[in-house]
């Protein structure tokens, strides 16, 4: 790996980083400098999301990767306004949802949904699956603004079951009677009940065994193709992310350090952290050579290092990194990185 020369860096305003390939179309989701700070006891603050800007085009699948605690879930929840952001804007189809009241947000909720990691915890154990799936249909009027009838709801439930390849009889059962994969299908079905345009999936396959994981990943892919969905797909498994996403954002300690098309980011990472991340994934191939792993641990998000947030673990750290925080900037069309000394293609 060689390094890009210092001069190649063109510091760029935040928004331009997200202006990926098709600049003409309006993004479905536009995230502008979103921050989320948790206030811990003893006056400590935890910047779980620390100034993230990105945008997601309709039909795009954005993979969000990073180590545990780097703020992936927090960002995901902010995108759907499940947590209030501390600052910044989130535009869904041009409308800022950060300031909307719960009531005003409700119609928008039909447009954006979430699938969670823990397939069991995200299903109410005391309600039948049918009931759970019908809930969104009951509370939201149909597109004509009318209350959905019982029959429409039943029909829709059958449709959903079909969509995720579960038998209709599953509607009569409770969550605990299903295997992890089946439960995740149910979760997906529920998220799809209202025909959303955006689905945020927070590590939907991490808890599953590989063989089942493949089924679900396929299901996600199929659904996207069939329904023209847009995903924000959070995962820590790079292989899964690569399988499903069109572009990838790599997060470290609350910030996006690299953002670009999937293959660009995973095969020619420009950020040392992305490089270490891809290198560290064990491959099911015997004898594959592997670079020495990254040393050290992620610093506590409460005490984020000054300067570049990665400098404590960076093998190429320079003095500048310790004091100056690099901004996310475009290094080639559709590929931006937050590093003073991005890696050149190896």
């Amino acid at each position: 790996m060689t390094r890009r020369s210092d001069t190649a860096i063109t510091p760029d305003a935040s928004a331009s980083a997200s202006a990926s390939a098709s600049a003409s179309a309006r993004p479905l989701l536009d995230v502008r400098d979103v921050r989320k700070t948790y206030h811990l006891p003893r006056g400590q603050t935890l910047k779980a999301v620390d100034g993230i800007s990105l945008s997601v085009m309709p039909g795009e699948v954005l993979g969000l990767v990073g180590e545990s605690g780097c703020g992936k879930s927090t960002l995901g929840r902010c995108l759907l306004r499940l947590t209030d952001v501390s600052s910044g804007e989130i535009l869904f189809e041009g409308q800022d949802i950060t300031a909307l009241k719960e009531r005003a947000l409700r119609p928008l909720r039909q447009q954006m949904q979430m699938v969670f990691q823990d397939s069991y915890a995200s299903l109410n154990p005391r309600r039948r699956i049918g009931d759970l799936l019908a809930e969104p249909l009951r509370v939201h009027p149909d597109p004509d603004g009318r209350k959905r009838s019982r029959a429409t709801i039943t029909a829709r439930l059958h449709e959903l079951m079909d969509l995720v390849s579960l038998p209709v009889s599953a509607l009569e059962r409770y969550a605990h009677e299903f295997s992890g994969g089946q439960r995740q299908r149910i979760n997906i079905a529920r998220a799809l009940a209202l025909s959303p345009r955006l689905v945020v999936a927070d590590e939907p396959v991490s808890a599953l065994d590989v063989s089942v994981q493949a089924q679900i990943v396929n299901l996600f892919a199929d659904l996207q193709a069939r329904l023209g969905l847009t995903y924000v797909f959070i995962a820590h498994d790079l292989a899964v992310v690569r399988q499903i996403s069109t572009s990838v954002a790599v997060m470290y300690l609350g910030a996006v350090v690299e953002l670009g098309e999937t293959d660009a980011v995973l095969h020619s990472p420009a950020h040392p952290y992305s490089a270490a991340l891809t290198a560290a994934v064990p491959r099911p191939v015997v004898g594959a050579a592997r670079a020495a792993p990254l040393g050290g641990d992620i610093p506590s998000p409460v005490a984020r290092p000054a300067g570049c947030r990665f400098h404590t673990r960076c093998p190429f750290v320079q003095d500048r990194c310790r004091v100056e925080e690099p901004a996310l900037h475009v290094i080639e069309p559709g590929h931006s990185v937050a590093c003073h000394f991005p890696l050149a293609e190896g």
Binding site: E67, V212, Q213, A214, P282
Partner: protein
């Protein structure tokens, strides 16, 4: 003459009572672990990996549990060993580390205290000497500032450090066998890589053998010398890691490997997935446990669990049929000596071998005879080939 194996497990069965019935969780598991060997135990969640390990440690104390078979550790039978002798073995000869370093330490004592405790439980050492050893061990594990770290409480350490401390504790009495139950699952990839490096280095620095339990085929491929694939409490396949990964002999192993999305090379359009889910122990079919999900399944698979048969690399197909007569219980020495690959499947005996895995491949998709074609992720029942010839 090869040295006697460190651990030789034969026909290990573990059943738990439930509502008046015995549920077989682990059935007839056999394997051998040599000195300084790393054996990978892989399988899906619930396949009985932990139970196997716990049975070896004598740590299963649910009332009414039945453990049969044999596990010879340096010639000493572990199954049914008296509590007193077990106590002496545990921690000193056989040590164990667990998946979640977060909860595996007693929260109210310092790390150092807990390591000291283990040392002093097995060796007559003063507090001071024990602490010195502890600090040394921690330093060996790559813990920065080990003396200070020893005085810290578990919650004050990061996951990676905690797992290192855990390993340090396990190694504190120089055990000859280290059982690591998913030691990296709770860790991040970058930290996981560090820990795996550490485990790999143990055999040279400490001379320990490792029984590594994981569900990640990647980890196995990188770390283990030998691999044992469990499916629903039964051995599906076992063999040297390189051989097993190169040409899996059991359809399950093959499918499992295929369903892992590749990180390099072209992206498959769809992932080859195995339909359905592993059976619950009580619903385990009489025949091959994988049969309901297997596209090669046919009548022979349904009657009885297929025996573990040696698998011969592609060039030595002739020997396959002959070895097929052996049951798993027999000729342990043979197996060891041949260091061959075995699969609990009727296919080798029938002379039908799976195609070798295409590494870095243009994906299995394009390979005409790949088993993957037959697998579907839709519907509960996979399409079953008609009796007789599998679609090869």
């Amino acid at each position: 003459m090869l040295p006697a194996p460190l651990l030789e497990v034969r026909d290990l069965c573990v059943s738990f009572p439930s509502r008046g019935r015995m549920i077989p969780i682990v059935e007839h598991v056999s394997f051998t672990l040599g000195e300084r060997d790393i054996l990978g135990l892989v399988g899906e969640s619930g396949s009985g990996k932990s139970v196997t390990a716990m049975a070896l440690m004598g740590l299963i104390d649910s009332p009414g549990v039945q453990i049969t078979g044999s596990a010879l550790f340096r010639g000493q039978e572990l199954v049914g060993l008296a509590q007193k002798q077990l106590l002496r073995l545990r921690g000193s000869e056989i040590a164990m580390i667990f998946q979640d370093p977060m909860t595996a330490f007693t929260p109210v004592y310092t790390i150092g205290w807990q390591i000291d405790e283990q040392i002093r439980a097995h060796e007559r050492l003063s507090r001071k000497q024990a602490r010195a050893r502890t600090v040394e061990l921690l330093a060996d594990m790559g813990v920065p500032d080990p003396a200070r770290t020893a005085d810290r409480y578990p919650h004050q350490l990061s996951g990676g450090l905690r797992q290192r401390a855990m390993i340090a504790m396990a190694l504190s009495c120089n055990p000859s066998l280290l059982i690591a139950d998913e030691p990296t699952t709770a860790l991040d990839v970058t930290v996981q890589a560090q820990i795996l490096d550490l485990i790999r280095s143990l055999r040279s620095t400490y001379g320990s053998s490792v029984l590594l339990i994981t569900h990640d085929m990647g980890v196995v491929a990188e770390t283990c010398d030998t691999t044992l694939v469990l499916y629903s409490g039964r051995v599906a396949e076992t063999g040297p890691t390189d051989a097993l990964f190169a040409h899996p002999g059991h359809p399950y192993t093959a499918a499992l490997l295929a369903s892992i999305p590749p990180l390099d090379g072209p992206r498959p359009h769809r992932l080859p997935a195995i339909a359905g889910a592993p059976p619950a122990p009580l619903e385990r079919p009489a025949g091959c446990a994988f049969a309901p999900r297997c596209s090669y399944a046919h009548e022979t698979c349904r009657d009885a669990p297929p025996p573990l048969v040696p698998l011969v690399p592609a060039g030595q197909a002739g020997q396959a049929g002959q070895a097929g007569q052996n049951t798993g219980a027999q000729s342990a020495a043979n197996i060891q000596q041949q260091s061959a690959q075995f699969a609990a499947c009727v296919l080798p005996a029938e002379g039908t071998l799976l195609l070798p895995r295409l590494l870095e491949a243009d994906t299995a998709m394009s390979s005409p005879g790949g088993i993957i074609l037959g697998l579907s992720d839709q519907g509960i029942q996979p399409m079953l080939s008609s009796a007789g010839e599998p679609p090869l």
